[in-house]
Symmetry: C2
Subunit: 678 residues, 2 copies
């Protein structure tokens, strides 16, 4: 059993990419429908690409700056444990892989949407489901494929030097920052702009092609839920593996680097499990797409567990010593499975709190009868209550992982949780594709039975989105904790004592950062939306015949305005995430920084769950009322529900998800720059 | 210099009580106005007393239960460091002192309100200010007088045995739990019930005597802002002294218990400083009551600083050793002054974020123009942003206190901050008295110039309330930290290592508790309000002639309903606060409990500031619009502002302030029961 098996990791990555190519071929072969459909789809597609292009322009500057900084520090310092210039190379590769994954995913998602609409029209539910899911699976396979291929190559080239390999994860984090924070601001600015001027001021319905912001709004769905979510999970996926590699090496697990090999092989097996899982996703006419997606997910999960067992049993030494304790390979298996279970359960808890099938959302809907204020209060209370079970699950996961496998177990729990990332992203990205398909069907006036099918797919997409969000938060927390463990090893501290004032101060300041960060991103959405609103108003005012439908709106300009605003608005919160760990590490030292990271992790996780779940619950309470409960559309309860939903928009789609990035990015920066803090 | 000086502490307490008696005599001598005024005032007064009586009935059961539990454990265990039955005695005395302080304060506040209204009518601004402030000062003097008298006696009787004296603080905490959590639910249930049925359904104005809940609503102001705030600061005041006594003893500061003596003397001097400060509160006709209150406050603060300098210089040894470091008496002075400054500055930051004079509230008011949702989002963002400076101030305070005086310094910073508690409570309780005076003027149809004066006093009261809230949160955090330091000494641990899984799990779970607790208290308000709403509706339905003004509403029944509901609703959140530390301490051990306490402290502090400040900001944004901005009363912006204000009600008056209690109560319970966890 040797490290030559490491080659299996990039090979599995390649297989994922080949499978993605196969899916792409299948999707592009499908018919994109009539002229009108193609036209609308093309607008969304080119809008999405325009967003990416503009994002890249800023991103490239950011990446170059970091590359220069790392290289200069790396070349000007030397000696054991100093920052290395090669870390900049790994960083650039990591960033590039994440960018490429997002680009492929977006490109295909904006092709699959129109084909899903057309499949719903010509062939029915199963074919439409298949198309939407295949589109999502391209994103999923790109994420895990490029993640493991890129990381595997970096590990092999740099002979598994952790201080270099960490750079790959930092690169992934940087792209996620743009994807989640910039993307989150973009999607809500477009949404609010489209709704406020279109629906409220001009009085035209949702998804009306006369609305200049309608394309930007549809682009936003892809930006947020495909590219944003993808980059977020790419970061978690890569981060968890990097952390376990670093710990496997620094703790010296296995005489021949078996502790490094195991997470790579688990990831490789997870890819195969996810690919096999996708074949179980298909529904008969009149069947339940949810069940079909579940079947795929469960298959991938079971196969992963078997794979994890095999890897831990065959690769890891039967017992190993770490930090004065003896652990067994079976303990690592338990840790990884604990992670997998925690991810699965957090997703389900999220669904409980945000689905209209259960009491919390029903109670929120009922509170709409007494007005907006009670709706907001009930939603906030629900979101806050929803933090309890995920926290307890994570606590149990940490306990099990640590008890059975020590610090290495924490990282392996994250690896286990993220082993089915390919499947999770596929199921998640399926949502916005179905949503877009519905929009396209509406805009091109397809018959109502088509809309029925896409609505069915879309409503399932809401559930999968909720589960995906919970999973993303849980994985961010566990990945950050794994990276944090690696950080403590990197700075060589075995004690971060709360009773020391530095550490308490760190906890307080770290705990505050997510609040401050959320405040910034919420206000960013407001400001970015105001630019959008001005532009939409201008077009209605200046383009003659727009309201009559005789002239065309300038969609591209709206996309561009929203892009610019989002990228400008993300600067301040991003700087906060980047500068604070460096500043604290350099001035107050690694123990205080440990306190900061821990404080940020705790309140960041809590706020992320609170914001995502209250936002999701308001959204579904509104939909529940729109189904005819409490007076249905147009009732006072509905008006209250719409207000709650609008409050929830930046909660669930901007500030909440951005916290996933904050907690991971701050930790990976601390890990990469650890040599400077000692 | 000997411990016989300790007698000065209860003597200063007595002086405060004598001064309170003098003020009471002055207030009761004043004229209570015409028949109508007396009648309304009597209804509020007896309503307040009814609330207290009902609260006592539940409280006594709670107190007896704790007394029995502590006694049984105390009598059945023995040996060094075990729980002592005498702790139950100290507990009961502490609870009794806090109850008595609240009772006196409420009794006089509900006499001063009508006299303030009458003074405004007959003698003008200065006399009215004087009456309202004197009423507040009775509460302030009762808090510090009974606090220091009771505590001083307990210290003397039990020969300063920390494990017994801690019980006094626990007793104070238990009463604060009822005052803040029960009181907080009561006041908002009454408020919402009165507004929703009265203003919205029946269409009668605010403070209309036909509204059956109007008295309950006015009682609520006293319950929340007089008794609730008083019991909260009583708890902080006593807790900070207890913690410093415990640390002074366990760290062996001074050969003859000087470390124990110093905080008692600082508190004694603070009382004298506060009494002298009250004489500076008076305004000329047309003068600014705010300036006059500031003058009193600043005088008390400066005198306190001088007193702290004298005590540390004369009492403490010039240098002392603690935990392997050498500190100086001047270091302790710096620590105490740092605490005093932090309290002062946090209060001012709170004012910045919640007063319509500054940008944050103006921005919130502006956001009302685009509707309720943007108002809510902007308010949430403002509240979240407002956590940054207080956290940094507390961090600086901790740093200074620890750097210059070690663990003892942390407790002395809290003592320093709370040395002017008498003045702070006086200024704070002045607010609801003025508010009530305005309500009485309105209900008894006094001429508009009277209402002008009371409105002026009331608007100043809003500022002082904001400052008081900030101070209460800051003092809760510092007191909890001081008690936490004493706890670590009591369980004999010098390291709580974040890198151990128990501690991380503790931090996660502890961090979650404030979220869960807030969720519970928010929902409690909703349920309690619904009982009130039913009762008000019933009276409008069943009492013939009520709307026409020919029959009288049954005010007492509304007070009682709201009481009952509040006391029932506070059970679940209270049990959470009591049971979790015991459960964690007994099962997972003192280190994990340390993590829990620290997690709760960090997120509790953050959430308390966030909730208090967003609530306060929404309130003042509404008032700002009512002054005629953005269309004034009746405009769409006003409607949005009203919704925001309603969301903010449980934020700022129930859930936020209740967190002060949660963080202190959990810590004092851990400290008292520490012997069981070792």
């Amino acid at each position: 059993m040797g490290t030559e098996l490491m080659i299996l990791a990039p090979i599995a990555g390649l297989i994922a990419l080949l499978f993605a190519l196969f899916l792409i071929a299948r999707i592009t072969k499908m018919d994109a429908g009539n002229e009108r459909m193609r036209e609308i789809a093309e607008a969304i597609h080119s809008g999405a690409m325009a967003f990416l292009k503009r994002q890249y322009r800023t991103l490239i500057i950011f990446i170059l700056a970091i590359v220069v900084i790392i290289s200069v520090i790396g070349l000007s310092t030397s000696g054991e444990g100093s920052l290395k210039w090669q870390t900049a190379v790994a960083f650039a590769i990591g960033a590039f892989c994440s960018i490429l994954a997002g680009n492929i995913g977006m490109r295909i998602a904006t092709k699959a949407n129109v084909r899903t609409a057309n499949a719903a029209q010509t062939s029915g539910l199963n074919k439409a489901l298949n198309c939407a899911f295949s589109g999502g699976a391209v994103m999923g396979m790109s994420v895990v494929g490029l993640g493991l291929l890129g990381l595997g190559i970096v590990v092999l080239i740099f002979n598994n030097d952790s201080s270099i390999v960490n750079g790959f994860s930092f690169g992934a984090s940087s792209v996620a920052l743009f994807g989640r924070v910039g993307g989150g601001i973009y999607t809500k600015a477009a949404d609010v702009g489209a709704d406020l001027v279109g629906k409220v001021e001009a009085g035209i319905p949702e998804d009306d092609p006369r609305n200049p912001a309608v394309v930007a709004d549809n682009v936003g769905d892809n930006v947020g839920d495909v590219a944003g979510m993808g980059s977020d999970l790419f970061e978690s996926y890569v981060g968890s593996i990097v952390a376990s590699i670093a710990l496997g090496a620094s703790l010296g697990i296995g005489a021949h680097g078996e502790g490094v090999l195991a997470p790579l092989l688990i990831a490789a097996i997870g890819i195969i499990a996810s690919i096999l899982g996708t074949f179980f996703v298909s529904a008969k006419e009149g069947g339940d797409p949810q069940k079909s997606l579940n079947k795929g997910n469960i298959t991938a999960t079971i196969l992963s567990i078997i794979g994890i067992y095999a890897v831990t049993k065959l690769i890891l030494p039967e017992t190993y010593e770490a930090m004065g304790h003896t652990y067994s390979s079976f303990g690592v298996f338990i840790a990884a499975v604990a992670g997998l279970l925690v991810g699965f359960l957090i997703g389900n808890v999220t669904e409980y709190y945000t689905s209209a099938k259960y009491n919390p959302v029903k109670r929120i809907a009922a509170s709409c009868e007494t007005g907006t204020a009670t709706n907001v209060i009930t939603g906030v209370a629900t979101g806050m209550a929803s933090t309890a079970i995920p926290i307890i699950l994570v606590a149990l996961g940490i306990w099990a992982a640590y008890h059975f496998a020590g610090l290495y177990g924490i990282a392996m729990a994250a690896v286990g949780m993220l082993s089915t990332t390919g499947m999770v992203v596929a199921v998640d990205a399926y949502g916005p594709i179905s949503d877009n398909a519905g929009g396209i069907a509406e805009m091109s006036k397809l018959p109502p039975q088509v809309r029925n099918i896409t609505d069915h797919l879309d409503s399932v997409g809401n559930t999968t989105a909720a589960i995906g969000k919970g999973f993303a938060i849980g994985s961010a927390a566990l990945t950050a904790l794994a990276l944090f463990s690696a950080y403590t090893q990197a700075v060589g501290i075995s004690t971060i004592n709360i009773l020391e004032p530095d550490v308490v101060i760190g906890l307080f300041i770290g705990g505050m950062l997510p609040f401050f960060f959320c405040s910034m991103t919420m206000q960013s959405v407001g400001r970015a939306a105001s630019h959008m609103i001005e532009e939409v108003r201008r077009q209605f005012r200046e383009i003659a015949g727009l309201m009559e439908g005789t002239a065309k709106a300038d969609y591209a300009r709206c996309v561009d305005i929203s892009c610019q605003a989002a990228l400008k608005e993300m600067i301040a919160p991003s700087l906060l995430a980047v500068i604070v760990p460096l500043l604290v590490g350099l001035t107050l030292g690694p123990a205080c920084l440990g306190g900061v990271l821990c404080g940020t992790l705790v309140t960041g996780f809590l706020l992320a769950i609170f914001l995502a779940n209250s936002g999701g619950a308001w959204d579904n309470a509104k939909k529940y009322i729109e189904e005819g409960n409490y007076g249905g559309k147009g009732s006072p309860a509905h008006a209250a529900a719409v207000n709650g939903d609008t409050v929830g928009d930046p909660f669930k789609d901007t500030s909440g998800p951005s916290l996933n990035i904050l907690i991971k990015l701050m930790t990976i920066i601390s890990l990469v720059f650890a040599p400077l803090f000692i």
